[in-house]
């Protein structure tokens, strides 16, 4: 059977020690049996490794930061679309999702399809709204509170026991043992991600994660649970292993069925010594470790593209337990003209069109 031609655009090419999911998502779809693909990379920084990695992107364009607003992004995407004719776009950062969701109708008119959660799904699973989410869908969640000032920090001892977690609205999480440490993390997080900063009860146990895909009707297309075996100082998985845990799968299916989740998601869970599962975060996108799921038998990024194209997708029934991933870092040699072209013109061609200076 011949493969379907597809032009895919993806963000999250920052394959660093705090990796975005772009590179593993592209790699997964490149291995697809269904699609023959050309990839347009969308980058925020000129040194995102996925721009230069062989076999990942065919062409890359710089795009404006989400803080520049919807119009700036759409204007840029209209230009890119006039040259590229992108079929499907997969945004891979939490911080940009809102902008892409707001733009999805206009993108559709341009011929660019996405498969994203709805704005209300995005909103209700937000860290600040997690307690309400837990109550509404009957799942265990840690006690959480938004803080907006130093005064709020002083009052925390009336409601929380130390240690507690201090989290940014999009990224970053730190454990704090006293008020002084909360202040320190509050300053760091608010400077980077803005307010509110979220305080969360610290649940003791083992952190486990699930990557899943919902089709928007309440059906779970696929899900693979994993435990991080090697964690970097940024808390990112550098190694992990797939688990056989029916309770984690049941919880995932429960959440997707109740919320009618549409798109990729990552559940961050804590399993206590009494085998309770607490939902500590729901990330509204495919995580950077998704290639483990592909290795275990579920090509979730490929299934997401099929859903975006309105193709029929049969739910995955199984995955391999005990499959591991181990990350590595690798130095690439990059010729200056590629970097120069991206820095000055905001777009870069495939490597073969360059000559070394």
């Amino acid at each position: 059977m011949s493969k379907i031609k597809l032009k895919l655009a993806a963000t999250g090419l920052n394959n660093t020690d705090n990796p975005g999911p772009g590179v593993p998502v592209i790699r997964s779809i490149r291995e697809s049996g269904t699609f023959s693909m050309e990839v347009v990379g969308l980058a925020y920084e000129t040194l995102e490794p996925g721009i230069y990695m062989p076999g990942i992107t065919d062409r890359t364009y710089m795009i404006p930061y989400p803080s520049d607003g919807v119009e700036a992004l759409l204007e840029r995407l209209e230009y890119i679309q006039s040259k590229e004719k992108i079929d499907v776009l997969i945004p891979n950062f939490d911080a940009e999702l809102y902008t892409f969701m707001k733009s999805s109708d206009r993108l559709e008119k341009m011929g660019v399809r996405t498969f994203l959660p709805t704005l209300s799904q995005l909103e209700e699973r937000h860290k600040s709204n997690l307690p309400r989410f837990g109550k509404k869908y009957d799942v265990l969640v840690p006690k959480s509170k938004d803080i907006l000032s130093y005064q709020d920090i002083e009052k925390l001892r009336e409601e929380f026991e130390y240690p507690l977690m201090v989290k940014g609205k999009f990224y970053d999480a730190y454990l704090a043992y006293n008020e002084e440490q909360v202040r320190m993390h509050y300053n760091k997080i608010s400077a980077k991600w803005g307010l509110p900063v979220i305080i969360q009860e610290f649940i003791r146990g083992t952190e486990v994660n699930v990557v899943a895909l919902g089709d928007g009707t309440g059906q779970t297309v696929g899900a693979v649970p994993m435990r991080k075996q090697y964690i970097t100082d940024k808390g990112k998985a550098w190694g992990g292993i797939t688990l056989d845990d029916p309770a984690m799968m049941e919880l995932t299916r429960h959440i997707i069925s109740k919320t009618h989740w549409r798109g990729g998601m990552e559940l961050e869970l804590i399993k206590t010594t009494r085998n309770e599962l607490y939902v500590i975060e729901i990330n509204p996108r495919i995580p950077a470790w998704v290639y483990l799921a592909v290795g275990a038998g579920q090509n979730l990024p490929e299934a997401l593209v099929k859903l975006a194209l309105g193709m029929e997708v049969k739910p995955f029934r199984r995955y391999d337990v005990g499959k591991m991933f181990v990350r590595y870092s690798y130095d690439m040699i990059v010729d200056l003209p590629r970097f120069e072209q991206l820095s000055t013109l905001g777009e870069v061609e495939p490597e073969k069109s360059f000559k070394s200076i």
Binding site: M226, R227, I241, L243, D244, D245, V321, G322
Partner: protein, 82 residues
Amino acid sequence: MSLRKNIAVSDSGFVFDPSSGESYSLNPIGTEIVKLLQQGRSNEDIIRDLTGKYDVDDATLERYYYDFIGMLKQFNLLENGE
């Protein structure tokens, strides 16, 4: 006394718990005991087997055996309630 059903034990003594993702390495005697537990054999039965097979007195074997079983319990490798 039995090992949890989904625990995998290789002949080399590598034990994998697919629920937690943890793995352990056993020496040959540990591997032998775990394989007997996997067959659902009782503690008394296993102790009798081992005392007949190795040059060790009953009291010493029993002490080390239950110490090892305690470790398996601690790592949550035995069926619930055992």
